[in-house]
Symmetry: C2
Subunit: 227 residues, 2 copies
């Protein structure tokens, strides 16, 4: 029995809730942490939704992940960060990350689709007040965009830290959703004379452009060569 | 005076409102229709926010633009489309489109940023009930992803049209926001030994992958060769 108990256990998946079970294509939904983390770690841009005066607001922003926490940051003057700070209970948010992987072209307009991977996180965002957690979160944000970069730039000073607000959102009410593969045309459309298939899509990085004031003796770091 | 009056007038920009004037970096905001349309037309994926039981929900979805209207579609069973249909007054939404154009790496962690173009549309989405407008909107959605594709696929039949709900959102309360250029480091950081500059980012299309059941005599159409 001891041997069996020493085998690392798979962490429990996120518990599905009414909000994280889709009404459509529920078979495309996943709740395991590995899938969710891999989708979150492959991007750095999220769309953060919150409610202001009863109406929805959706803003693009960068994020970082540390274990089961997501962090977003902004000026202490920005609207959602101010709102989260004013409300002791935190700010209800929905944070969504989407990768487009392909355009799915079917013979019928109806079956056109998109290959994608997305994660939707529901929860309450709280302002981070602990200075050590704030520093750690800002490093995580920079490293989430370019791994290795936080250690290769000047850390925030006291004034910059004071001007920056950080929100933490715990990964608890979370789902992933993905579509892969080719078009699913109806059998009766098989002989229509239209091309069908998938056009792959992926973000590409161009050659890094040095800043105007960059000293010529500073070479491109390895973590950017391999990006 | 007649000559002056015959000069085509620039269409009036969108009127800024409390919701479309950002609290931060207001100098990055734009309200002219040309800028807004060009950002919307360069993508096909939006993040649609709405409020459900008082909490925000943000879902990725495709969209199309026809003049000053945006269209999104989905199953008649999907949550936001059902909500918009149930409410005679329509569904308050926020529709956001974001392009990432570059990673801005400054010498200080604080001045790290992102080059981007985004559009945020606030408004009330209404279900499209007119069959002609619905057909036109679905064509626009397909052509927005791949220009020329709607005419090169089988149009939706009556059953498919009945299963598809379309929402219209008018472009009225709209703003664009963009950041371009290199990092804005503080002068006192100029001599720090860190690489600084911009890593360009853009979506790239891979070689189209034919569907498993595609007849070998159907060639790749020109509109996909030039995508």
């Amino acid at each position: 029995m001891e041997i069996a108990m020493s085998v690392p256990s798979t962490p429990a998946p996120y518990t599905p809730t009414d909000r994280t079970v889709p009404t459509r294509s529920a078979d495309r939904a996943a709740y395991d942490r590995e899938t969710v983390h891999s989708i979150l770690d492959a991007s750095y841009l999220c769309h953060l939704g919150f409610v202001r005066d009863g109406a929805p607001v959706v803003l693009p922003t960068l994020y970082g992940r540390v274990g089961e926490h997501l962090y977003v940051h902004g000026s202490t003057g920005s609207r959602p960060l101010r709102m989260a700070g004013q409300q002791d209970l935190g700010l209800p948010v929905c944070l969504t990350v989407t990768h487009v992987d392909g355009l799915v072209l079917a013979k019928s307009a109806f079956h056109h689709s998109m290959n994608y991977r997305s994660v939707v996180v529901h929860g309450i965002a709280h302002q981070v007040t602990d200075p050590d957690e704030k520093r750690m979160a800002l490093d995580a944000l920079v490293d989430h965009v370019v791994p290795g970069r936080a250690a290769d730039s000047r850390p925030a000073n006291t004034k910059e830290l004071a001007a920056t607000a950080v929100l933490r959102l715990d990964l608890a009410e979370v789902s992933a959703k993905a579509r892969t593969g080719g078009p699913n045309d109806d059998p009766e459309d098989q002989d229509l004379p239209y091309w069908s298939g998938v056009v792959p899509v992926a973000p590409a990085h161009g050659a890094p452009i040095p800043a105007d004031d960059l000293a010529p003796d500073i070479e491109l770091p390895d973590y950017l060569r391999t990006l």
